[in-house]
Symmetry: C2
């Protein structure tokens, strides 16, 4: 099955405050080599997608503070869209989709976050192929990750009947999207077998997505179309004028959830290892053990960007992070609360620690 109609969008945003002080306002998560692989999360995302489509069909959408760093990390990138201000995922993905649709009316657009980790690229490619196959039939398709645990850190997607699409034999309709559940509910979902993790991956024909938007978020749709249709020498000007008027909304709320109620969403299974590296508990599971630290009756996760010797005595499941200007100590269990730290420092009059 060829993927000649496939175009890719990588929204590169999000502060990653739960990975502070590694992830910073000036160097957020997607710009960092968090897994110690030698490539940043953004570069790993590029590598994964460049194996499926030529680089000239990849679009990255990011903020003005990170445009230079993105261009620097991805020298082969041809389409870099700079959003003047953060307006969540729907305007970002919608902008690239509208731009693609101007030149390729039959395009299929697939959107993947810039800061997720996927281990098995072959399995990922197979899922994308099925998703493209299902998308060609007019569905908005998500890749639902087969749960490895009853995680409460992710939203879930419930699958219904099979679609019977030859190019996407495992595609099923989506009954509903559900928010991050509590532990009991998460266990019920995983036992039920019809639920998968919502990894925020969406594959859809450009015209299908834009038609949904025209109905559900008409002013957002019109703004995006206006920007995309502007002549090259006026695009920047129209973008600057229009962008601040666009509704700030996530693609899940704008399209995925409402369209699922009409039976317009499909899901194909992703059996590969996937993680959104949401916090240090997740990162601890993804990195090689840190041989540079000493643990005495202790265990957990430690990293120093400076190569500084870290010693932990008598604590279990502890997280220690050291950077040039900050030391963070927490536990695997409290990893989600790290997001409170940068705000606390700003309150202390230290915006440099943001």
């Amino acid at each position: 099955m060829d993927l000649d109609d496939l175009h890719v969008v990588i929204p590169a945003g999000g502060a990653g405050t739960r990975l502070w002080p590694l992830s910073r306002a000036s160097h957020p998560k997607f710009l960092l080599d968090l897994t110690g692989s030698g490539r940043t999360l953004l570069q790993q995302t590029w590598d994964r997608l460049a194996a499926l489509v030529p680089g000239e069909r990849v679009h990255v959408v990011t903020g003005p503070a990170h445009a230079a760093a993105v261009a620097d990390q991805l020298p082969q990138l041809r389409h870099l869209h700079v959003e003047p201000s953060p307006r969540d995922s729907m305007p970002a993905i919608g902008l690239a989709t509208a731009v693609v649709a101007e030149q390729h009316p039959d395009a299929v657009v697939a959107s993947f976050a810039a800061d997720h980790v996927i281990a098995d690229e072959r399995a990922f490619g197979a899922s994308v192929r099925q998703a493209v196959g299902a998308a060609r039939t007019g569905k908005v398709v998500t890749i639902g990750i087969t749960p490895r645990s009853a995680s409460t850190a992710f939203g879930y997607v419930q699958a219904g009947e099979g679609l019977g699409v030859p190019e996407a034999p495992d595609a099923r309709s989506v009954l509903r999207f559900v928010e991050k559940p509590d532990e009991v509910t998460a266990r019920e979902y995983v036992e039920d077998g019809s639920f998968s993790w919502n990894a925020g991956m969406f594959v859809t024909r450009a015209d299908v997505l834009l038609d949904h938007l025209a109905l559900l978020q008409p002013s957002l749709h019109d703004g995006l179309r206006r920007i995309a249709a502007a002549p090259a020498d006026e695009r920047e000007q129209v973008l600057r004028e229009t962008w601040p008027t666009l509704t700030r909304i996530a693609i899940d709320h704008a399209v995925a959830e409402p369209v699922s109620l009409q039976g317009g969403i499909a899901v194909v299974p992703g059996t590969f290892d996937w993680d959104d590296v949401g916090d240090f508990a997740a990162l601890a599971g993804l990195r090689e053990p840190d041989d540079d630290s000493v643990w005495i009756d202790a265990d957990g996760f430690a990293v120093s960007t400076e190569g500084t010797a870290i010693t932990v005595v008598g604590l279990r499941d502890v997280v220690v992070v050291h950077t040039a200007d900050a030391v963070l100590v927490t536990s695997i269990e409290d990893a989600q609360d790290v997001k409170k730290a940068p705000a606390a420092w700003v309150e202390r009059g230290r915006p440099d620690l943001l």
Copy 2:
């Protein structure tokens, strides 16, 4: 009561490995301003004693690695004895005592560690005066700290009958010295009322101490006498030859314990706040709260010698120490085990972290 016969010895040794990585082989505990007072522990010890005796009657005994730093920190010091190798407290205190006895046969010698913290200098001075009064009668006198808690971190001294010395109305004979007890025993000691903490402070006539040594450790006694009696221009040479032959032994084992069995030891009460700053649990109680760190659902003790921002999320009674080349994380409860850390780093091929 005058103190004209009083000479002071400050043995300045000990690695302070339980305060690693603040306390280092090259900069041990006594050379550090651990309490944030602006004076190092050695300087605080000097200040406390210089209030009682003129500086020319203060002797410091230290190792060759720290002699320059000691001289630098105490510009008024006249008697600096450099022991060629560490041989524990009896040779160090005995050397200074033998030197004093050469010129002042009737001297009273008082020995105080260089790395202890004492809050109330007036009460300390009053205890020293009573100890000198009792020492003049021929007893070896210790100042026993009135326990503030049933600590298991210190040895204890059990007092017997009062001595009836007018210059030392609170002096009592010592029944026995006991090693660091377990918790149940420590509580019994404190409830009993006759036990005090052994702070390693000894006050004795020089001739009395040397006479005990002559009986109990004759070769050590003879070696110390030989060094002290050497003419000034030969002292260094005799010291270098004799020192390696001296028995390595603490004053507690060499004199205090055996002489207590003969009724030769007395104790006067020390009602002042005293601490040997043995570990980070002790230090946490001695320092002002660190306003430079952020605690989110967390508490404990944090210090960065570099002024680096420390953040703790979700942990209780945690200890975080950051220096130019190391990060240590432990808990108040595990503070004693920090002494294992420097050795672990040496084993890792990092002797620079000692």
